[in-house]
């Protein structure tokens, strides 16, 4: 804990002591407990707790630890420091990105090996997607854009996977990943165990890649974002990262 935080902690306790007389007996115990309770000090890493937090100390009393940290955005911050700049977070997000990328890369490259750019199952799959929430869109795509679908399914999956694995244009690649997974989720319609199935979890994985900009963790996007081009056009970071 640094000096600033310690000061805040003491101020918090001092003000609490001044209110002591107006509190029920339990609060007096609570106030005295805060001092030896090391967690109280650790909690002050986050100043500006939005609402009072109450904790029960087993066998003693209920403590109000108004100033204790509870970071809504990162509840584990006090315990493991899982902020987005932390080593474990970086490791895990990079790992997740590479595995997700491999998933799509494998699916795409094996189609390329077997069928090249003539993946005829693609348009056929879309044509059977009748009566879905997407309306006539997939059927129309299958009927009128068959030549494109045949090429873009294997190529798209491969490029999406490649992008994620090397961490380049991750957000852009993931947008297409979400598009693919939305079609698979609706088309496969394997809802026997509910709407949340493996297809939907795959969709959410790609959304996670977008939201957390996972290409910045051991990915090429971390390097690309430092180039002059990106600095001149910072909006490119919405496609990178």
């Amino acid at each position: 804990m640094d000096g600033l935080n310690l000061t805040v902690a003491r101020e918090g306790l001092a003000s609490r002591r001044s209110d002591k007389k107006s509190q029920p007996n339990g609060w007096r115990h609570a106030i005295s407990l805060i001092v030896p309770f090391s967690g109280a000090e650790m909690g002050f890493h986050s100043v500006g707790t939005p609402a009072p937090l109450y904790v029960i100390v087993p066998g003693i009393s209920i403590c109000e630890v108004t100033q204790m940290s509870y970071q809504a955005a990162n509840p584990l911050a006090d315990e493991f420091e899982l902020d987005l700049g932390g080593a474990w977070t970086a490791y895990w997000l990079a790992f997740l990105r590479v595995v997700t990328g491999w998933w799509f890369f494998h699916a795409g490259v094996t189609k390329l090996i077997e069928d090249g750019l003539a993946y005829t199952y693609g348009p056929a799959y879309l044509k059977q997607m009748t009566g879905t929430a997407l309306g006539p869109i997939p059927v129309l795509m299958g009927e009128h854009l068959g030549w494109l679908i045949q090429a873009m399914v294997p190529l798209g999956e491969t490029l999406i996977g490649l992008g994620l694995m090397v961490g380049a244009l991750v957000r852009l690649a993931s947008v297409f990943g979400v598009f693919f997974m939305a079609l698979f989720w609706i088309g496969n319609a394997e809802f026997g165990h509910g709407l949340v199935n493996s297809d939907f979890m795959g969709l959410l994985l790609f959304m996670t890649m977008i939201v957390l900009a996972t290409g910045r963790y051991y990915g090429l996007d971390a390097i690309i974002e430092k180039t002059k081009l990106v600095k001149r056009h910072p909006k490119l970071r919405y496609l990178l990262g």
Partner: protein
């Protein structure tokens, strides 16, 4: 790192999250409460005949989720075309006399 959220940010989060949670969780609870089938797929017997259909059409539920994703996509498009927040802040910076 501190991030400032605008009304549009909050609206996008609330609307997309609301739509997706409505489709997946809320209507999922309705599906359970209304009896078999407890999921979004029709129940069949050994002969393959449908013996119970979902209370809420899965098309509606998946449609709500897609609508939520669409909101996020539109928000992403908006962020691409709208001025960046630091650009706006720089443009709006007040000059005060001391």
């Amino acid at each position: 790192m501190q991030q400032h959220t605008t009304v549009i940010d909050k609206a996008a989060m609330a609307l997309s999250g609301g739509l997706m949670l409505l489709g997946v969780v809320v209507l999922g609870i309705v599906e359970i409460l209304t009896g078999k089938p407890y999921s979004a797929a029709p129940l069949t017997n050994d002969a393959g005949e449908v013996i119970a259909t979902p209370m809420v059409d899965p098309t509606l539920r998946t449609g709500l989720v897609l609508a939520g994703l669409l909101v996020l996509a539109l928000y992403g498009g908006y962020r691409l075309v709208a001025p960046m927040q630091n650009e706006t802040a720089a443009a709006q910076q007040e000059i005060t006399a001391d």
